[in-house]
Symmetry: C2
Subunit: 240 residues, 2 copies
Amino acid sequence: MENSPRLDAVLRPVRAGNAFEETVERLLRAIKLGVVPPGDRLPAERELAVRLGISRVTLREAIKYLADAGYLQVRRGRYGGAFVIYREAGAEPADLRKAVADMGQGLADALDFRMAVECGAAQVLAAATLTTHQRDTLCRRLADVDGSGPDDYRRLDTAFHLSIAELTGSTLLAGACADARLRVAHLLNAIPILQTNIDHAAVQHRAIVTAILVGDPAAAYRAVAEHLEATAALLRGFLA
Amino acid sequence: MENSPRLDAVLRPVRAGNAFEETVERLLRAIKLGVVPPGDRLPAERELAVRLGISRVTLREAIKYLADAGYLQVRRGRYGGAFVIYREAGAEPADLRKAVADMGQGLADALDFRMAVECGAAQVLAAATLTTHQRDTLCRRLADVDGSGPDDYRRLDTAFHLSIAELTGSTLLAGACADARLRVAHLLNAIPILQTNIDHAAVQHRAIVTAILVGDPAAAYRAVAEHLEATAALLRGFLA
DNA sequence: CCTCATTGGAACATTTACAGACCATTGACG
DNA sequence: CGTCAATGGTCTGTAAATGTTCCAATGAGG
């Protein structure tokens, strides 16, 4: 019996890189996913270092790097901090084509991963008994997306999708969804935001929320799958 | 707009502990999952260190610890190595209760994660067009479990479940499923293997395979969810 | 019975990461 | 207009982890 695939899956690297690299990656994720919106600041260094479980020195190196790269602006003194100054630039179709090609095999991998993990999260949430607070949060996030302007759309759309995973209460699941989304985030950002797409997405978002509130996992799956398949098909098109 | 929950999900600790602790944990999981069956040996230190992305010194400390704890026997010279001498002892209900209590909040987290990710994987696979080879592999893994003896049951059951994720072709998804299963493996091992459960599981396994082969994601979800919910409910019972 | 490739064992210098203490700056608020 | 709390900036010593090199043991195969 071959057990090499499982061996590879289990005996994989213990750590993705050194502390500095992992920290940069983590902060970049928070920035690109809009967890900390442009103009806002990261938590204070001392607090953030504790959150991330690293030393302040290492954190500062990562912040320095991101400041040099143009993502953060650091200001001293009380009411200072590391402010997000990054804003997603609209990419050219040629750039998107190149980005898709660069991912190669990784694109299908990432899309499948995202599909599995977001569908799973929605179903888990639909199968759970929700508190009033959970229902309210979900509806509020939906309203946020619907009421957003062009500048905020991506960020609030991301917030909506991630909140589904977060509401399950599983940090592992939330982390997986955040990871999945980040892997395709730069591609999604390169797709122009058309009113048609927004309207279409709004209908699908509402279907997802309804299925979850009603407690229908099967409907939740169909709604999420349909929603994600739309963008996935668009991206896959660039591979042909 | 509150964004603290998303902030917690993304800005969480970069590393679970020091390299030594993480390595011990990783090896222990490989052993308890049966990825390296009793009597077999781990890969050579030099190779394993590369696989795990750590130094040989750190790996050796972890191996030393596991040898002292009675999981491994280390032999020198050519054809030597670190041999697995651990055999799953039927755990006392008290031990299981303690183990469940120790996981605390992490248990619900892990169970939800596993549910989401395994359901998602099965649905992705069911939605895909499968090659003959994929179908054969799936059926073979199912047959392996059905034809297994008490000693091999856990290991082959794990192999069956993981092969679903592997067959999607997404390494990210396979990794997530392996991770999910590893987190509850030691609890599952503590549950006695009853013929009733095996028979019940066999029916459910067959339902999962059928749903995937037929290409029915909804049925795949129901089958996997029902299968996982059985053990999840059992474990949750120890929290009450 | 010897050889030797392969394996674990041990020591070294170097790099990375950490913890903690202290300094410098800022701006809201009294 | 000064205070001072909260923030980033800097330094030092310590511990952890690494990379490298060499040594020691083993046993299948010649």
